[in-house]
Each structure stands twice: as C-alpha cells, then as structure tokens.
Symmetry: C3
C-alpha cells in the first residue's frame, strides 16, 4: 500500500503516528486506535487523580501564532494530565520581533530539547511546513491552521459519535453551516469516510459550500429540512463571523431562519439523533438554546472528549517519536 | 439550627465546606477549623519541600475577570504547593470575545473536568452566581468580588490575630480606613464577630463609612486617636484610590494627617498591639514607613499566612466536593 | 585570599554559590565546578525523562522587568526540569502599578516563601541591588541587567568551549562585534581570563569598543581579518540594533562588509575553529547563513547548553542557600 505524502510525513516507517497534522490520508486502523486510546483517557478524566505518567519529563511547547484560549487550555490540560512540562509561547511577542525568522525560532525551541510542538496558525499548511523542517525528534500536533485542518477537533467528533452511536457504516451524518470557512469540516469528512460512513451530507447556502464539495464523495444540500431527513448525527459548525466577508451572508438573523437548528428542524432527524457543535455556540444564530441545552445535545460532553483525544494523539505521537529515536540509536 | 442561604450554598449537608464565597453565615467551628488547618500549612511553607499531595491530579482554574497579580500569585502558589495542575485564564481575552456568554464559558470549563475555580470579579456577587449555576462538582473560591467580599483575605487576618494574640473574646480590634469601598472589611467584621470578638471598632471619615455600619454590631469612630485607645489589633485598609470618586476625599496628604497610622497614633493602642495591612501599602498615605517596617508590624508575615489560608480553604472545599461526589455515586 | 565585594555577595562563608550575579570576581574552581555540574545536566537533556528532583518543592519566581521570551523560556524549562514550582511575573503589569515600590514588591514575594528570583532588568545593577536588599534566604540569579552582565550566557559559552576545545590555557578566543552595548562581552572576558585563557581578542569598530577595553588584559582589533588569525574560538555578538544610537553605525550592510563573519574571514581562523553566537542571529548582518549553518557552527548546541548551565547555577545557588539556612538554625 502506498501512502499519500501527507500520511508519510505523519507516520513512522512501521506505521505509528509521529505527527498529527491532518486526518486526510491516515489509515482506518490508526483512526480507530486513536478513538480506542482516547476512550481509555475519558476514564482518566473521571478519576480522582486525573493524571497518567506517559509524558513525564517531556517538554511540550504550545506555539500559538493565533490566539485561541479555548484550544490552548484543552491542550495545556491534556499535556499536564499526561505529566508533561508545558511551555506556553505567544509567538507574536517573542524572538521573531527581534528579526529572527520563524525557522530559526523553531530550531532554537528544538535545541531546548523540546519533545512536542502544539501549533496553531492562521495560515494553512504552517504545521506541515514545521513538521517538514523540524523533524526529526519533535512531534508536531496541529491545533488548527487557517481553513485547512483542525484534526483533533474532527477526531473528538468521531469519538463522540463512536461513544453514542457505535459503528459508522450504517450512520447518516449531516454537517451544517459554513463549510467553506471551516477548518474542521474537511477533516470531519475525511475521518467519517475513512471510518466507513457512507452517507455524509453537507448542508449550507451555496455561498458557504466549497467548490470541490461534490468531489469529496458527499451529498450537498442547500435545503436544511431535506438534508436532515432521518440522520443519526447532526454536526453544527460555528459561523466564523470574524473570518467572513459580508458579501457571503446578508445577516445573522436571516441565516438563522434558513440554517439555524431549532426544534422543528431537529424533528426531521431520527428521534434519537445526536446534536454536536465545536463551541463556542452562537445561541440564536446557529442553534436554538432549547436544542443546544436539550437531551439530544452532546455539546458539553464534547469538551471532555476533546481533552481525551488530545491526550491520545499526544501520547501516541510521542510514542512514535521515541521508537524512531531508539531505532536511530541502534543504527 | 437553620443556616442562611449563603451558608447553605457554601456547605455540604454534613456541614463541610464545598465553596468559599464569604465569611458571612459560616459557623464558628468551621472558621476555627480553617484557622487550624492553615496553621498546619504555615509549617509546610517553612519546610525544605513546600509541597503536599492533597490536590494531586486535580485541576484548579484561576478565573480572573479583573487583574490582580498579587492575589493570583498567592492562589497559584497555594494550588501548586497542594500539587494541583493550575490553569490561568484571563477572561477578557478568552472565548467571551467570540460572543460566548459567561455561563457557556463556565460550563465549558467544568466540562474539562475542572475541580475548582478561583474567581476574581469586579462585580459583587459574581462568585455566588457561578457557584449557584456551576454546582455540583466544582468548588468555587472567591478571590475578591467588587466591594462585597474577599474572604481569604479576611481569614488570613484572623489567622494572623490568632497566631499572635490567641483567643478572640478579650481582644479589642480596630479596622481603619476606607471601610465603604473595602471588599474585605465586611468579611473581617463577620469573622471577628463569629470568632467571639466583642469589641470591634471601625475608624474612618464619615464619607468612607458604610451607612449600615451601626447595624453590624460595631462601634464607629471618626476620631482615630479615640478609636485606637487600648486596642490589641490595628487592621489598616488600603485606600482604594482607583475605586474612589474624588468627591469622597480632598487629598491623600489630608487623609494621612487625619487617618494615617504614625508612631504617635500607634502609641494610643496597647504597647504590644499588632499592626496589619493587606498590602500593597501606600507609604505616607495610610501608614508611616516607621510603623509599617516596625517591630509591631506583621504586614509581611500576613503574606505567608495568606498562602496557608488559601491552601486550607482549597483543600477543605475539595474534600467537601469529594464527599458529595462519593455520596452521589452511592445513590 | 580577600574576595571582591561582588564575590562576597555571591558566595557563602564557605565559598559556595548563593547568588549568581556576575562572573566578575568568582574564583576559578567555582567556574570549573559550574561547568562540570552543567556537563552532567547536558546528559539529563538527552534522557527520556528530562527531570531531576533537585529543586522539588522549591518556588522559583521569574521576575522579568524587561521582556525576553527566549531567556525566560530557558530559565522556565531549567527550573521545571529541576522539578521546581515556577511563577512567571511580568512586573510592568503587577503591583507596582498600584503604587507599590519595587522593594515592597520584592519583600512580598520573599514573604510567599519564594526560594529564588530569576531577574531580568533593563538597568545595570538591579539584580545586585535586589540581592543586597532581599538576602538572606532567596537566591538571586541574574538573567541580564542593562549593559552590565548576563552571566549565564557567558558561562554557557564557556561550557561550549570546554566541551569542544578542552582546556582554556592554550586557546585563542576572539569576541566580535558590538562590545560596547553587549551585556555579555564583559562577563565573557572575565570568565575566559579566570579560566586561564591568555589570548583574548576583542574585534569591532572603534565606536563599539568600550573605552576601558585596554585595561581588561585583552588585545583589541579593528581589522577583523587580523583579529581572527589562527583563533580557536570565534564568539560573535548580536548587533543590539534596538539599543544603538544611529550615530554609532552607518548601516547594517556596511557593518556586514567590515565585521560580518563570512567564509573568507572564517578561513583566517584555525581550520577546526568553532563559531558561536548567543542568538537570535541576524543573518546577513553579523553572520553569513553558510557559516551560521555550517559544520563549524555550534550556535544551536549552545541553546541546549544554556539550559544545562541554568540548571547548574540554580541548583548550586539553592544548595548554598540551604547550607546558610541550616547554619542559621544551628546558631
């Protein structure tokens, strides 16, 4: 089996995770192993002592080129629960302002014997670039890059579906909203398809659907009621208002009238359908409060699952790195 | 015995601390237990290894809606010395700027399996609101809310008095300064009264005394020399200049002339009276440097006691939460 | 042997390190012990678990009055790898803004049972002042003060030379660049001389050489080719453009033409000469990229050595403090 260039970058020769940049190209058994590993960490989150020693003595650097308190916090907690030492770096205020290039900054951080960079960047592809340039020996975890990917978010959605709906192959899953500007929708589609889901639906206005939607093997709906028909899972996206040109969308209230998830629309789905959202939610814009807080909503459960998924990919990538280091020493 | 609503919120059914929001309404044996527990942590502060494992594997979130480096630092140190994982969140720069409501932010933080929020807020009552909404399972510690309360500060003052003056019932205690704008004076009065102190004196200009002073069971003095007569304890308050309307007070130097603690005024108190101040001190405005640095001053000792008190209420509230969690599991 | 006032301040009565403020005046055996201790910590940086318990339960406060993410990060990592609890304080935003004096802030931090302050300040002498005022019981580590000193940087350079060139007495060492504004050049000269180096050369334009250069026992060169002749070690300094008045220097490109290190100039040195730079490097201004990234360059190795040196001085100063505390208790 030949791997895609992206998969080759992310995997060791024996197929272990060594970076986590995108779900695209990762084989199904690996995604399943991430979910299984995260499942065991969900238990850790409920223990009295929420700590395992898997990353003890390891240095994790949170490299945030773009502010995101929520994502940074979940990665910081995940790293601390794995017993790592954590260094938070806001790159805007750091050495780059002294005229140092990004690459020199990264080389310096690696030279401090850092073991892992958690990278958030406004530009698509930045974590890939870093993984290519800084390898070997430092695991790169993508915490969101531009519109490209946010793979831990996509995988926590898969964990949520798996825990509440079981196997993927018989499920109908709808992704609703601003697909075009979402950094997570692409990874969600890749993950769902890889895990065997055969009925993936993208729902949104034409202006917020990507041109290549058809080629992704999904069905596209502009009519939300039709798209939600008999689905098992509804994944609402955040309206990235801060990233949107006003031309795409007349107003938030008009959007809500057509694509907001309310009780009437939810009734189109199966009675036991689950409702997901990455947060923070815009109440009354993407979703009605009664639905967000209702019995079918798993929005808050997703937060805890997010820490479990981050613990899973961090410990698995570190384990892949350690194997490579040991192999290099033998040679 | 019926408890006040505030006490009910703070205590478990068996009377253990589960939140620490205000001293008001807490029973005397509980305040004495806080002091005793803190006393044992004073010893920890002097050990070579200043660490106990009481909060190991627990997640403490410092939720500071208002900047206070000093208070945040003492809570952070207290949590780390209890072996907790600490997450510092400056809420102004976080998800709320993406349009998320405070309540959604709190629910998200709880969903990360946080065990304790240390809350600082400019609005009175914010920690109560959070405790009511976020309960169960997360202990809320008030680190100062508006003019309402700053109970760990009040209790560290009680610890200071207890360690240096013993039992409260025979003591004369004066609280001097800007009572009206102080977030700690109210809690100090409650704590002193609960612990048996029968002679509590508030000293300050009429404009800085609260209207309800008389109803608190204290004696009010506008003449500082009279108020300090034969007292055992002098608690100076900080002049909250940043919170004060210019109309209340003509000038800092005029204030010092009438209510500044200098050696002449200190001589009115008992010869072995102790001098306290929450810091940071305004030298030459509230207090003369010779007094602040003199042999009767305990101002720097209070800082270390503050960490001990914070360790005490954090570990006690966590213990109360754990008992509730276990009781919930049995049911 | 009588010690200089600076050495007396830094050493206990039995000659152990208790502060680390400047290399100036420290005896050769002590500098050698720092290098030996750091050498053992270089090994720790390559271990799977990069952690030793030497500062467990100790509180290290990073007191940065001047922003320096790079230096702060290396001290933070060093402290965490020694298992200390770390508190980062940006002093501009802290209590001093409430009108508290620096000295009161420091006394408060000491009263929190802090064990060590890592101090960065734009004013020369600030860490000395703090060590004089806050002693006893708190170890002060200078992380760079004005133009005066940056002793951990100087010692990491000594560690680099020692590991790659062995004994100092036969070495020819050139320090190149903006000697006048460098906070590290002075400490480098002191360290080299103390460790037995007999041929120390300062190379730079007259406007960037300090007036007292001659009195330091070094040779001064304004011609870089002459200065580099047959040297074993080339230490490039950073061009402190942010600290430089335009009058000193016509332009960066003119500077590079005369004092930039390129391959032609490097060829004047011994064939196995090593190239060092504190970072961040200004490519094409102080140094040609081919040299910075070339086989003779140790620039990235220096970063890891920097953490080892910081671990060494932190653990040694803490050990000196503990001995003093125990001696004080016996008395």
């Amino acid at each position: 089996m030949t791997l895609s260039p992206s998969a080759q970058l992310q995997l060791t020769e024996s197929g272990e995770l060594r970076h986590f940049l995108t779900v695209d190209g990762l084989p199904r058994p690996l995604l399943e192993r991430i979910i299984d590993t995260a499942n065991s960490f969900v238990v850790v989150g409920n223990q009295e002592v929420k700590k395992v020693p898997l990353l003890r003595g390891k240095t994790v650097v949170n490299l945030f080129f773009e502010n995101s308190t929520r994502t940074r916090s979940t990665f910081e907690l995940a790293a601390k629960r794995l017993s790592a030492d954590v260094l938070n770096l806001d790159i805007k205020t750091s050495a780059t302002s002294k005229g140092e290039s990004l690459l020199d900054t990264l080389r310096n951080l690696r030279a401090m014997h850092s073991d892992m960079f958690v990278v958030r960047h406004s530009q698509s592809g930045a974590p890939h670039f870093i993984a290519e340039q800084v390898t070997p020996n430092v695991a790169i975890i993508n915490a969101g890059d531009g519109r490209h990917a946010h793979p831990t978010q996509a995988m926590l959605d898969m964990l949520t579906i798996h825990r509440h709906k079981g196997a993927f192959d018989q499920l109908k899953v709808a992704i609703v909203g601003d697909i075009l500007h979402s950094r997570v929708a692409r990874d969600q589609v890749h993950a769902l398809a890889t895990l065997g889901c055969k009925d993936i639906r993208l729902i949104g206005p034409n202006t917020l659907l990507p041109a290549e939607a058809a080629s992704l093997g999904v069905t596209v709906y502009t009519d939300m009621d039709m798209g939600l028909e008999e689905v098992d899972v509804i994944i609402m996206l955040r309206l990235q208002t801060e990233r949107m040109d006003s031309a795409f969308l007349p107003s938030a209230s008009e959007y809500y009238q057509v694509y907001g998830l309310n009780r009437q629309r939810l009734a189109k789905a199966k009675p036991d359908a689950i409702v997901m959202h990455p947060g923070p939610i815009n109440r009354g814009i993407e979703i009605e409060s009664e639905v967000a807080d209702g019995s079918q909503s798993l929005i808050l459960d997703q937060v805890g699952y997010g820490i479990a998924i981050r613990m899973a990919v961090m410990s698995m990538a570190m384990s892949g790195q350690m194997q490579e280091r040991q192999a290099a020493e033998v040679i």
